[in-house]
């Protein structure tokens, strides 16, 4: 009797411990939680919390545990070390996050070797996904949103354009994609200005553009102070009054809109997500995120984390919590689902996110708050950078 009780307890204990082990699936996220880009890390945290609040912390009986690593600045060596630590010490089954391209590239090598599926929440350079079959992305690529910008210009009778981009990789990618589509459609590019990355006085460029008298200017700003300065200078130099329209992509982030003030009204951008997207699912996401983190303003950075977790949840479900990178990736190739941004799909060959890109114009909502109001959708857009259609 006593013996059987002992055996029973032992069996129960063993049972509990094995299920407890199998039950936790760890996900390692590398994000800028402190330092100059910490705002974006905070947005990811809020979006991830909102996702787990809405969809729960378990998938098919497995508890999903997120392990955050703070990568304050662009630092590929540190990103790689974090990825190794997460895989070896924390035994994570999935990696995610990665704000900057150089960090994503260095983590790609680790993910490839360890066969750990890695979901990039932001880094937007087209070519990253070529580095490993274990990479996925839930943000966007610059050609993906710049080609619709050119289409929008052509559709709205813009005949001449001056481009103004920051002189670095993403700026040039964006310029190339825009110019190629715009010229192919019969538009004329009067001038292509590439401003040094750290420029914050854009007054001279605006005067130059004003003198060239184009119908519109196409802008790519790197975010932060230069983008702020571009929009201030555009309004200050009176380009809007001179009839020169502002066409951009991600310049009018919701985080910066209050700072831009009325200078932002009427700016036209093409991007994959606006928190003002009128769907019930999106409203639920926005309201849950603001409950979880009241001080955080949600924007297009945040949706990358929300959908990143959606993809990771799907992979956990498909592998039933077991470590199997190949099976996990195969399960989400070609997966289509409804996201707060609209319908999305992971392209089965390129693994890139195919998604709606929207034309948005900045206006004020009923309460007088500035927002990116979606005017139309360009439909499901592939990554025009790598897709053979454009090559």
């Amino acid at each position: 009797m006593k013996q059987s009780l002992y055996a029973g307890a032992l069996a129960l204990g063993l049972f509990l411990s094995t299920t407890a082990l199998a039950d936790v699936v760890k996900v390692g996220l590398i994000a800028p939680l402190s330092g100059p880009y910490s705002m974006n890390g905070k947005i990811w945290e809020a979006a991830a919390k909102a996702y787990q609040k809405i969809h729960g912390t378990t998938v098919a009986g497995h508890t999903v545990q997120i392990v955050w690593k703070d990568l304050a600045d662009i630092n590929p060596a540190q990103a790689k070390a974090y990825a190794q630590e997460l895989i070896i010490k924390e035994k994570v089954q999935y990696l995610g996050g990665l704000y900057f391209t150089p960090d994503a590239l260095s983590v790609a090598a680790v993910a490839d070797e360890a066969q750990v599926p890695t979901v990039i929440f932001n880094a937007a350079t087209s070519s990253i996904l070529d580095k490993s079959p274990y990479l996925l992305r839930t943000s966007y690529t610059l050609p993906q949103v710049s080609v619709p910008a050119a289409k929008h210009a052509l559709e709205t009778k813009v005949g001449t354009v001056v481009t103004l981009v920051s002189d670095y990789g993403p700026g040039i990618d964006s310029e190339n994609a825009f110019v190629k589509t715009f010229v192919a459609g019969g538009g004329k590019v009067l001038e292509q200005i590439r401003a040094p990355l750290k420029t914050t006085d854009f007054g001279p460029f605006m005067q130059k553009i004003k003198a060239a008298k184009p119908d519109a200017m196409f802008v790519f700003g790197p975010g932060g102070p230069p983008t702020y300065a571009i929009i201030k200078a555009y309004s200050e130099a009176g380009l809007k009054q001179a009839g020169i329209r502002f066409i951009g992509t991600g310049e009018t982030s919701e985080v910066d809109l209050p700072g831009f003030g009325d200078a932002a009204l009427g700016l036209e951008t093409t991007l994959h997500y606006s928190p003002a997207h009128p769907s019930e699912m999106n409203q639920r996401f926005i309201s849950t995120a603001s409950q979880e983190a009241p001080s955080v303003i949600m924007n297009a950075v945040g949706i990358g984390a929300y959908d990143g977790l959606a993809v990771i949840y799907k992979m956990i479900e498909a592998t039933n919590g077991k470590r199997d990178g190949g099976k996990a990736i195969a399960a989400v190739k070609g997966w289509e689902w409804e996201s707060p941004r609209g319908p999305v799909k992971i392209d089965p060959t390129s693994r890139e996110l195919v998604q709606n890109v929207y034309l948005r114009i900045v206006d004020k909502d009923a309460s007088g708050k500035l927002r990116n109001n979606e005017m139309k959708s360009f439909g499901m857009q592939p990554d025009h950078g790598r897709s053979p259609a454009l090559k």
Partner: protein
């Protein structure tokens, strides 16, 4: 052609005056007090942040916010000088740089915590907004106001340092502190005043220039190299040196922006390189 030249002069002069207002305080503390204050940009930054806070949170007018911010930064700099910087006057320059860059990092972290890492917009007084038409070109009033402000600062500093009795005491305290003290000049107070004036000027420049150099926590380190370049080209300790250096660098950078945009940063530092090659102590620098 004429239009282009006019554009370059207006934009270049305004940019130069912002550089001048921010860097003249740095040049003063470096030349007069012989202290390398790498935290100077942080004073400019806090000027901007405090002005924004006073106007948005307390509902003060932008002009009042600007004055309160300048005063607050000047006052806050006094204990910094009294308890920290003062211990480093007689120490090697490397020690001074280490302590002031440490102060800078602390202030950056404070700003990040208090104001967040997004850009903080700064409302301008109404007389500094809008545009006016000059020769068929609309010039932002902000640029003209900044240019005038820069000239006022130049005149005021010249009067204060070269013409007033306070200026004489400052120069005496700097040239020979022990004798100045023996003559009854309160040198510690002179030093504190000069430091506070430098900090206040930084705040003024930070606020006036916030449209061109937007306020966010990494401001203090981001533009430090630019500020130091102006001081190096001008030769530290001279008001006119700072003025001429800011003018030269501002015009060079702005004109290359109009003519060959890609090279504007390069042109800025190439000018610095050439000036220092010919005059290692700066345009108006005296040999130490």
């Amino acid at each position: 052609m004429l239009q282009l030249a006019a554009n370059i002069v207006v934009d270049g002069f305004a940019y130069a005056m912002i550089l001048f207002m921010i860097t003249v305080g740095l040049s003063m503390t470096m030349g007069l007090m012989r202290i390398v204050n790498l935290a100077h940009g942080a004073f400019a930054m806090f000027g901007g942040f405090i002005a924004a806070m006073v106007t948005t949170k307390l509902g003060a007018s932008p002009l009042v916010g600007m004055l309160i911010a300048i005063l607050a930064v000047a006052i806050a700099s006094v204990p910094v000088e009294r308890w920290l910087i003062r211990r480093f006057y007689r120490r090697p320059e490397l020690d001074q740089m280490l302590v002031t860059i440490g102060v800078m990092f602390v202030l950056i972290a404070c700003a990040n915590l208090m104001f967040g890492s997004a850009i903080t917009a700064l409302a301008l007084p109404s007389f500094m907004t809008g545009g006016i038409d000059v020769f068929g070109r609309s010039i932002p009033v902000h640029r003209i106001a900044v240019a005038i402000l820069g000239l006022i600062v130049l005149a005021a500093l010249w009067l204060a340092i070269e013409q007033s009795s306070i200026g004489i005491r400052v120069r005496a305290a700097v040239d020979n502190a022990p004798i100045a003290q023996a003559m009854g000049i309160n040198t510690p107070r002179i030093y504190a005043m000069t430091f506070a004036a430098g900090a206040g000027l930084a705040a003024l420049g930070g606020i006036a220039g916030a449209e061109l150099l937007p306020m966010e926590p990494t401001y203090a380190s981001k533009y430090l190299v630019t500020f130091l370049a102006v001081v190096a080209v001008g030769g530290h300790g001279t008001i006119f040196g700072s003025f001429m250096a800011a003018l030269l660098l501002g015009l060079v950078e702005t004109s290359t922006k109009y003519l060959v945009p890609q090279l504007s940063s390069v042109a800025f530092f190439l000018t610095m390189f050439l000036v220092l090659l010919v005059r290692p102590h700066g345009l108006f620098g005296r040999h130490a």
